[in-house]
Amino acid sequence: MKNTLVMCGFFVLGVFLGRLASLPIWMHESELMLYALYVLLFLVGVGVGGNVQAFRLVEHIHLRVLLVPFSTVVGTFAGVGILAWFIKDWELGEKLAVGAGFGYYSLSSVLITQIHSETLGVLALLTNITREMSTLLLTPVLAARFGKLAPIVSGGATAMDTTLPVITKYSGKQYAIVALISGLVLTILVPFLVSIILHV
């Protein structure tokens, strides 16, 4: 939660700076940002590949646990494709790419801004922050009415960090490991799915 506020703070600070002054062109329209993105993705990869605890978890998962991130992917795409059909400003692929952030707003917004456009990047930021916030707020209701897996799929990629405490509290301790694995799988999938969808 605190981390989310800090990230939003940086974004809002940027917006104010952008309103106030015209910043040097290299800051927003140059190859430099693209190379910085490559470095960022490399670092994200290092964090995932070097996460020893996560790989220990993978050793003793049942195959059926993978159905949880699978449900999130299929459900998100179906939901966005069907329920958000009436948003005509964007193509289906663009809406799916935004959905494919699965709550991982920092990486998905940065990636979409670079490979598509600022406007879609901002939409990805807002959509995925809303997904994280909604999960934090709705988890008690989701767990009580729709089953213990509901908060985990709602949280998407955030189920391994920011929404994990609240999921563990309302779904139960035995679901914490399911949440961790599901969140990890989705975190790895986000950059792949986003870049594949936007390049089709």
């Binding site: 940027g14 309103r19 927003h28 960022l40 670092l43 990869g45 964090g47 990486l107 917004s109 807002l126």
Partner: protein, 90 residues
């Protein structure tokens, strides 16, 4: 796309090879966070300077709400089925 995926895969491979060098992995995690702060701030700058985005911010917010709710509802529906079919005894 391929460069993006190569960077990611290269990072994962490097991380895997360095997985027992905890201090290095820790530095990578810290750097990732700093990079993300920087990028979000710069995204803010470009947004703040972009009149089209600023004028449409309310509209984008509404679309974001619709898209995130759609994603959550779709996921929860599938998860209900999966739970009934495969997680009865969990």
């Amino acid at each position: 796309m391929s460069i993006i995926l190569l960077c990611l895969l290269g990072g994962m491979l490097s991380g895997w090879m360095l997985r027992y060098r905890h201090s290095l992995i820790h530095i990578a995690d810290r750097l990732t966070t700093s990079f993300i702060y920087l990028f979000l701030c710069l995204l803010g700058v470009t947004v703040g300077a972009n009149e089209t985005v600023m004028e449409n911010l309310a509209e984008l917010g509404l679309q974001a709400l619709i898209l995130s709710s759609s994603g959550i509802i779709g996921s929860v529906v599938i998860a209900c089925l999966v739970e009934k079919l495969f997680f009865k005894d969990f």
